[in-house]
Symmetry: C2
Subunit: 227 residues, 2 copies
């Protein structure tokens, strides 16, 4: 009896894995249950016995993604500043981001967003993530570490949006720009923007922002949890 249980779980994992890959490369609408079943090597009917609907399957992926984010956000701060925690969250979003999910979660239209808001399991987690991120922004602003003029909800949405950017570039180019570099650029852009002041005005700043860009990149990558 327990053997079948395990086999069932294994197959379900296989399905989820395939679905994640397909969804990431083709998006929600262009990924059909037929393709998922075909890739796994089972029939559509069997697939529907594991997941009673497409949205159940996609919902599972979203829950997994959000749970990973929540685990990071709910972990003890360990003295990390709000800005660093935001960077770490963005780093995770960039690396595990599935292209099919992210963009449509950003859009306030789109099937994915409707799905998330519809399913309590997804909605609750999503709202917790958003709330948690917004709180970190507010915290950072109170501490003077984040521009007070930035609207917190916009910052949060910007993170979701930016989490896609690296993936696109990886898709466009061959290996000219590896994903680690792309992810690093995204996180740095989030932290420091594109603008760079003409000359580092003090040694303190030089140390803080990194005068040699290579070092700064490594630091940021470490902060964001990129490989």
């Amino acid at each position: 009896m327990r053997f079948h249980e395990r086999q069932r779980l294994a197959r379900e994992q296989e399905i989820v894995s395939v679905a994640r890959q397909l969804l990431a490369s083709k998006g929600y609408h262009d990924t059909s249950m037929e393709q998922v079943a075909e890739t796994v090597g089972i029939s559509k009917a069997t697939l529907y016995q594991h997941f009673p609907s497409k949205d159940d399957l996609v919902g599972r992926l979203i829950v997994e993604h959000l749970d990973r984010l929540l685990a990071l956000l709910d972990s003890p701060a360990d003295g990390a500043a709000p800005v660093e925690r935001l960077a770490a969250a963005l780093g995770l979003m960039v690396t595990v981001h599935t292209r099919g999910i992210g963009p449509e979660l950003d859009t306030n239209a789109g099937a994915i967003r409707a799905l998330v808001l519809d399913r309590p399991a997804c909605r609750e987690r999503y709202e917790r993530v958003v709330t948690r991120l917004a709180a970190l922004v507010a915290e950072g602003q109170a501490a003077g570490a984040i521009h007070p003029g930035l609207a917190a909800p916009v910052v949060v949405q910007a993170m979701f949006a930016l989490s896609c950017a690296a993936g696109v570039v990886r898709g466009q180019r061959g290996d000219a720009l590896d994903s680690a570099t792309a992810g690093e650029s995204v996180v740095r852009l989030f932290l420091d923007g594109v603008r760079r002041l003409p000359q580092p005005p003090s040694t303190f700043l030089r140390a803080e922002r990194g005068s040699r860009e290579g070092e700064a990149g490594a630091t940021i990558a470490k902060t964001a949890g990129l490989s």
Copy 2:
């Protein structure tokens, strides 16, 4: 004879306008030709006489959008620095951004992206926009005004991605956060990132970055061409 011509053009403009609105609020896949026809007040068949396919209609919208961007990018620099021109472009993208187009153009999957790459009229413009933006980034880096560690293609994709963020927020909240403020936040985040240095290190910097946030916001809004 010429009367009919004009009437035809007028109706076509009406169709385009309706399509843009629907697409912006519901996205590509959730906007059907039926809905477009219904909203305009004509039948599907008539709609198909103006635009032989859905992609023709959507393609038209994309071309219009990209042409506006190109007009801005190809206008004489007038002494504007690369960073300022990038900010202006992003400002335009944020304001006229159609939610249905932007996100799927970011994704390297998605129907919209396929459409753009498929249709020469779209593809050529899109590539010109990307090239032009990337060149501005490189220019800014050469001048020392943009972080040299940032990968230019990533910056460009980040702009496309960020252009969605403001729209989402506007969709979520009521009027708590008006779209001008949201757009301003996005552009500022792009320029300066979220991180703010503890204390302005010199009067020069105070002036350059803006010590009172209100002023800085206004300056940025002006730079980006936001109302």
